[in-house]
Symmetry: C2
Subunit: 467 residues, 2 copies
């Protein structure tokens, strides 16, 4: 980085929050996805004014800017693919205010999402979005990726809980969108445009989140099936019976085996599928609903159903689900995590197609996910140094995307497009659909400063860039 530019940056930001050493920069070159890209400089801003000044400078010198939370992104969200400046937002975490009267939380972008859960619950309130990484990921990252976790079915996605933002625009202006009211139709909904924009349209410097009263009770069950298709029918039957569970999770046989290998917890390793169902609400309603779910599981052919008797047993069941990611990470050096999402009724078809893809390409493909909202997580365990296998991975990933879209679904339910899915955008959106998005990006970010290289494919780019 030119000395002249550095001098300007040093006038804006205290020295200890500017990282230039190769070693320090190296630790900002990757995230939880794929690929390594070294930034030229890392800055740790802790207020909107600093970010505004940095973005204005970046526009003057045409420096790419990459905002980064805890870097748990599975789609390359924070990767500095064109070098430039990484903004490490994890130090910007001063504010975590619960406003019980208005059922709101007001938070800084670097706050850990699990801390919002905790503070809200202390006030008898509830923030439903709960990505698997919630205990380490920042709320800023969650918002920009719109990552939501298992409760989308009943409670909606992260977006449904963001009603106001303070944002630094791609040209460095500080604006406020939305506000403290659930209802707001004063002009276009910039809040929901920015949430899920993967840091390409603005950097969130404060968010106003909607909270709801904490459900009084919850009950959880784990059901095993010898045939995957039966688990799919169970999910449909439960929903059409008038029950809206807080979560419905699915694990396939490869997943069950991975967890049992990693940390034995008594899962039936011969089952073709496990589902976890959680209902919440009034204690009496919840008791009645979990028993109805149990009966429906057996009716649809479950070989065993275990209803958690107490909180300890409930946590045990969820632990099996939470072990999936660490368990499969142990299976090989490289993990490609997808999140193709299909209409709920297409889950059995999608599972069948994923099985065929696994066989066709001879890959270590495991599937789990949020079955209630059609959001599956096919994961391929591989080794990026194995060039021949990576070629097969690339083709398999292409086929997963094509299958999801052909079943009426989408490339990504919650991980985001980032770098890996960009070549497939046009397949889902069409040329004009993608162009309408690009027009917004160009109108807001004429110098293409904010998170360049994400969402939009490069001209002619038609394949995942794994090899």
């Amino acid at each position: 980085m030119e000395e002249k530019i550095l001098k300007e940056i040093r006038a804006m930001i205290p020295k200890e929050r500017i990282l230039l050493d190769l070693q320090e920069r190296y630790s900002y070159s990757f995230d939880a996805s794929f690929g390594e890209y070294l930034p030229d400089i890392v800055i740790q801003p802790n207020n909107a004014e600093e970010i505004s000044q940095l973005i204005k400078l970046a526009n003057r010198y045409l420096i790419p800017v990459y905002p980064r939370g805890a870097a748990t992104s599975l789609s390359g969200g924070p990767l500095p693919v064109e070098g430039g400046m990484v903004l490490d937002m994890s130090c910007f975490k001063q504010k975590l205010i619960i406003d019980p009267e208005n059922l709101l939380a007001i938070v800084s972008p670097g706050v850990i999402t699990a801390d919002i859960h905790k503070k809200a619950e202390e006030a008898g309130l509830f923030y439903p979005p709960d990505p698997s990484s919630a205990h380490v990921s920042t709320i800023g990252g969650n918002l920009l990726e719109n990552s939501s976790g298992p409760k989308g079915l009943k409670y909606g996605t992260t977006k449904e809980y963001v009603i106001g933002l303070e944002v630094v625009t791609p040209t460095g202006e500080i604006i406020r969108t939305g506000g403290k009211t659930v209802k707001n139709v004063t002009g276009y909904d910039l809040t929901r445009l920015i949430v899920g924009s993967e840091g390409t349209l603005g950097i969130v410097t404060e968010a106003i989140l909607r909270l709801i009263p904490k459900p009084q009770a919850r009950r959880t069950l784990l059901a095993a099936f010898n045939r995957l298709v039966d688990s799919g029918h169970t999910i449909t039957k439960i929903l059409s019976s008038g029950i809206l569970p807080a979560a419905m999770e699915l694990m396939d046989n490869a997943c069950i085996r991975a967890v049992e290998n990693y940390q034995p917890c008594g899962l039936p390793v011969d089952a073709e599928a496990l589902i976890i169902i959680e209902v919440d609400g009034h204690p009496i309603a919840v008791e009645e609903e979990i028993r109805k779910c149990e009966a429906l599981c057996y009716e649809q052919g479950a070989t065993s159903v275990r209803v958690a008797k107490d909180e300890a047993e409930r946590l045990e069941i969820w632990n099996a689900r939470k072990m999936v990611s660490p368990a499969i990470t142990q299976m090989g050096p490289t993990k490609i995590s997808e999140d193709a999402t299909v209409p709920r009724s297409q889950i059995p078809a999608m599972m069948e197609r994923l099985k065929q893809i696994r066989e066709k390409y001879q890959l270590n493909l495991v599937v789990f996910g949020h079955a209630g909202d059609g959001n599956l997580h096919p994961n391929i365990i591989t080794d990026k140094r194995n060039v021949e296998e990576m070629k097969r991975v690339e083709d398999a990933v292409s086929e997963i995307f094509e299958t999801a879209v052909s079943l009426g679904g989408t490339l990504s339910g919650e991980h985001g497009i980032g770098t890996l899915k960009a070549p497939y955008m046009e397949m889902e959106l069409g040329e004009i659909g993608l162009l309408m998005m690009k027009k917004i990006k160009q109108a807001w970010d004429p110098n293409n400063i904010l998170n360049p290289g994400k969402i939009f494919p490069k001209p002619g780019q038609t394949k995942v860039v794994l090899t």
Copy 2:
């Protein structure tokens, strides 16, 4: 309209769906708000292809295009303020499909919203948004204005139930946004950008709506208070007790009297405020919650609380609320309906300020609204021919907007900006906030064809245009 252009239109649309007579056009010159503007031509398209062709023609000849549903807009949404072409969408209503397996409805824009409610309930499902006009208004109009009604508190706004759209863009291209999955992060959320854009960014030609299982039971109460401030505290107490009612409605004394004058239904005409509370869910939970609400009302000073014993009594209570609009319409020839919305905790302060505004400007101002989500509806009954009074109305409306914003609220909770609130946009959003919206409009609609004259103020426009 030039004969050459007419000839082209006649080649696109059958003659019987092109209206040119002055008398016919006149009936398209107004909506439920204020002002009359005669369009040059009215066309009744019934498919996306026709609309696409018309919009392309409008771009060639620079003709303003005004989409219109049932014209129940209270902010001037469909008013053809610059003449041109009105698209009457009410004939475009072929599709109303309920997909129970995926909990979805797929609808054409001209479908009446109440018909969606009915069809969904027949399948044991529920579409929560319920604007007062639902029995006549079209879903297309509801979506473009994001009008939501009383259930925003528990169930969120209309926007939360729209997951996919087919849209004709301002340059006449047909695109699809979102899809059939609740989770979708494939690029920017154009769905939520278009919902609430008041027809300035696209014309909806099909929508995919999310449904939820129908609540099994509901209970409703009506409570009277001698002091308005007590009703405000009651609302806060109920929410902080862990109950999330489906609706919490408020009526002030002027409102109660108006209803009793119009159609006597035994309301306490001396009460300073009435609140209606409805809870829904599991029958046992609902019974417990309504009793808790009743007790909390009395604790906070209610003079009477009536819990509906059965569905007939429930409908009687809601009838009092639904009579408000017709009742106040009888009070004078001109009704200015506002929907300033404040954070819930500011409702007592807002009500107090509205009382002061009524006295200061000596106007017939009545207040009712969705107290649970802070969405109040101050209505001024006046006569637009009374120039002196209209001047006072204008000043009072200004002061209502300023008050809402100063209390941390917004100009509009669900009626939209339209023509009347445009001059106040910058006050709430700031110059840059408004500019960011304008950049999207300009990027998408370079010829300013779609619904021009709405949302964005004219240069130098700083006042409501009532006089």
